[in-house]
Structure formats: structure tokens, C-alpha cells
Amino acid sequence: MTVAIIDYGSGNLRSAAKAFERTVRESGRSDPVTVTSSADDALSADRIVLPGVGAFADCRSGLHGLDGMVEALEEAVIVRGRPFLGICVGMQLMATTGREHGAHPGLGWIDGEVTAIDVRPTAEKNGTGLKIPHMGWNDMILDRADHPLFAGLRDGRHAYFLHSYAMICRRSEDQLAHVDYGGPLVAAVGRDNFVGTQFHPEKSQAVGLQIIGNFLSWRP
């Protein structure tokens, strides 16, 4: 089994690659993990990971800047049904629209929008309010606890978040998990053979490695 981590110039992929390598090794396998910008590699991979940090539009144009990559992802994930994991902005790109510095179309795999986290209601309530970015460890409530991504996990486990924009799913069944931050914030989304996490599994210590392991052994 090959794992392709898509490199479109959005930040550091070393941690993600190392976390996948570690998980592969610990499960006694020797599957190759490649960090790649090549559409061919994405097409031939058994598992595809799309990371991303920064602004939605920047990440989107980075992804579109890779020759044939968006088409390859559509083919591999939507047509051929390869398991796919989007991380942070990589998850947000799965949405229909991103509303960070203007409206930008996403991949459109999850019916939803990415909008600025709104903590004003809380700010009015307690004076000081909640901070933006939503930065740090928050405990997840699993809306779809039976999803294979969460095998071995339960409500209340913490993951590491670092974001100022969040996805809102139009179909409630696409929301796999959420956290509370002045109201519910989407923590994980998914449908069919593709999933996305707003949090960083590669930075979430044991919980994150468990989720990476679950993704690798997922047979959707």
C-alpha cells in the first residue's frame, strides 16, 4: 500500500510524513510514504493525504498550481474511491466554498462553507471573550462514533487545533465530530471514502497517531 502526501507548497510536511511513517512502522507494515507534487503519484497511491496551513485561497491556488493535481484527486477519490484524508486547511478545501478573504470555490466534496469562527456571543457574555485563533487542545464529541476513523477512541479525547476559520456542513451527517468553543465547531467531516480533520493528527500525540492508524487500515 502506498501513501501519498500531497505537497503543494503549503508549509511543513515533515511532521505529517514522519507521523505516517511511524504509524506504518508500528503496525508492522512497510508501506512507502511519499511526499509528492506529482499528479501521477496521487493517481497511483492507495491512500491520499492533503495537508494545509495558511489561508484558504493561498492553499487553493497552490493546489491548482500543480499540473493536473485537482483532476487527479477527483479521479482517484471520487471516481476510483481511494481513501482520502484532508488535514486542517486540507480539510477545509473539501468544502464547496471558502470565505476567507473573499469567496473561493473548494473541491466541493462536502456540501458546506468555511467561515470565520464567530465568538462574539461569548465575548458579550463574559467580557473578555474567547481568543482567535482557536489554538490548543480541545476535547472532541464524536457525532459518528461508529466511523472507522475513530476506532478505539471515545468522546472527550483531545486533539490539537490551530485555526481561525471553520467549516459549517450543510448536511449534518457529514459532520463526524465537533468541539465546543463558544458553540460547536466542526472537528472532523467525511462521506463515503473521504474524511477530513480540522485538528492536526500529526501534532495530537497518541490520539493523532491512533487516527492516522485508523485511516491507514480503513477499507471504505
Binding site: 511532521s15 474567547l130 485563533p133 482557536h134 476535547d139 483531545h158 485555526h163 468541539v179
Partner: protein, 252 residues
């Protein structure tokens, strides 16, 4: 809910730990990667490397430390010290840092903060602020590790840094740093209540109660400490148990 972070900080010079953990089971007490592994296994919420290398040339060892740590520790990593250019930031992020902390360079040229935030995203740009109470009762910021006064008032400075795109403020009280008398609560709260971004309180932690005070009275989103962890006085699990028992939810 979001949990306050407890962050141990390691001082690094020339790729070696200067003030480090005094644990008996370390193979090499000066190896930052090994010490990072200890904090990772203890469940620290984040790790901070502060590079105190005096010259700008000796950056390679730091990059090796960061990449070595990122290969083994799957936890958030902040790196600060001597960052002057966008290339410095890029190199650290590519080596595996999640956030970089800018101090003197922000004072010399505040636009550097907005350039960095624009290029890499606010979420990875931390502005470190070293503040000292002046005779007039206000707080003034210092650069060069607290040696040079700037005449700049600290609270409005922090507000400006957040406006320019800092995603977090790492606030150190120069009066308290190294004293183990606790955070400067007035300073911490004044800044935390004035900026929309998270504030990490630093400087002065000598007891676990100080961590509680920083969060509860100082309104800090995260608390950073060096010596209480380095010298093995307290472990991360002990700190979390204490803070949790005081009624502040922590990640276990």
C-alpha cells in the same frame, strides 16, 4: 472546551541545551531532542525552544534540533530566538516548527510581523514581548534578552502586534524572570484582556500554584515555565494534576 496549555521551554545554544532537565535517566543531558522526547512522553501540551545562540551564523545546529524533534515528537513546537528574516522563518517551519516566535525584529521593524503573517499565516507567528515595570508604573518593552530598553509601552504594543497579524503573544515579565516568585499577574491580565489573540504567560514560575494564578488571575491561555521542569522539581503530570485539582480543566 479548550484547555489551557502547559508549556515547558528549553534554552538551546549551538544545538545543545543550556538550561535543561536534570533527570537521571537521560543518556545525554545536553541533547535537546532527547529532552523534547521526555516532555512529549509526559504529555506536555506544547514545547518551546528558545535559541540563545549569540551570533546569526550558528543557526544550523538549531535547525537540526528542530528537525530531529519533529521526527520523533508529534506535538506542537514553537521556536524562537534571533529570527530576523522571512527566510529564517521558512527554514524553521520546513524543519518542523509549527510556530516561530519573533521579538527584537518586530521592534526594529513592526511591518516584519505583518509580512510574516501574510506569508505564512497568523497561526504560526508568535510575537514575544519582554516587559518590565517602569518607575511611572507602566510597562515598557525590552529587546536583546531584556538588555535594551525601547521606551515602548507594552500593552499598546501587544495590541498593535495582534493587529499586524501576530497569532499569539508570548509575554515575559523581565522583573519576574528567574525569580521563582510567580508571574506578574497585573501585566499578564492587562495584556490578555486587551488583545484578541491567545497570550502565553512567562517569567517567574516557582510553584505549581503560580501556574494556576497565571491562568485564573492572569487570564493567560497558556503558561510557560522553564526551571521548575528542567530541574526535575515538578513533572508535567504533577503540574497538570495540581492545576486540574484547582478546578481548571486540563488535558490528561
Amino acid at each position: 472546551m479548550l484547555k489551557p496549555r502547559i508549556i515547558p521551554c528549553l534554552d538551546v545554544r549551538g544545538g545543545r541545551v543550556v538550561k535543561g532537565i536534570n533527570f537521571v535517566d537521560l543518556v545525554d543531558a545536553g541533547d535537546p531532542v532527547e529532552q523534547a522526547g521526555v516532555y512529549d512522553s509526559q504529555g506536555a501540551d506544547e514545547l518551546c525552544f528558545l535559541d540563545i545562540t549569540a551570533s546569526h551564523e550558528g543557526r544550523e545546529p538549531l535547525l537540526d534540533v528542530v528537525s530531529g524533534t519533529a521526527e520523533q515528537c508529534f506535538m506542537p513546537l514553537t521556536v524562537g530566538g534571533g529570527i530576523r528574516t522571512l527566510d529564517d522563518i521558512r527554514a524553521l517551519l520546513l524543519a518542523g516548527a509549527d510556530k516561530v516566535s519573533i521579538n527584537t525584529a518586530a521592534v526594529h521593524r513592526p511591518e516584519f510581523v505583518s509580512e510574516a503573517a501574510h506569508k505564512f499565516g497568523s497561526q504560526c507567528i508568535v510575537v514575544a514581548v519582554d516587559a518590565k515595570r517602569s518607575e511611572a508604573g507602566r510597562y515598557e518593552i525590552f529587546t536583546h534578552g531584556g538588555r535594551e530598553a525601547t521606551g515602548i509601552e507594552a500593552i499598546s504594543w501587544c495590541r498593535r502586534m495582534a493587529e499586524l497579524g501576530a497569532g499569539e503573544i508570548l509575554l515575559t515579565s523581565m522583573d519576574r524572570d528567574g525569580t521563582r516568585e510567580g508571574f506578574d499577574i497585573e501585566l499578564t491580565r492587562s495584556v490578555a484582556d486587551s488583545v484578541p489573540v491567545p497570550v502565553v504567560a512567562s517569567g517567574g514560575v516557582g510553584t505549581l500554584e503560580h501556574l494556576v494564578e497565571g491562568i485564573r488571575s492572569g487570564h493567560a491561555t497558556a503558561v510557560l515555565a522553564a526551571s521548575i521542569f528542567h530541574f526535575g522539581i515538578f513533572s508535567i503530570p504533577q503540574a497538570k494534576a495540581y492545576v486540574g485539582k484547582a478546578g481548571i480543566p486540563v488535558r490528561r
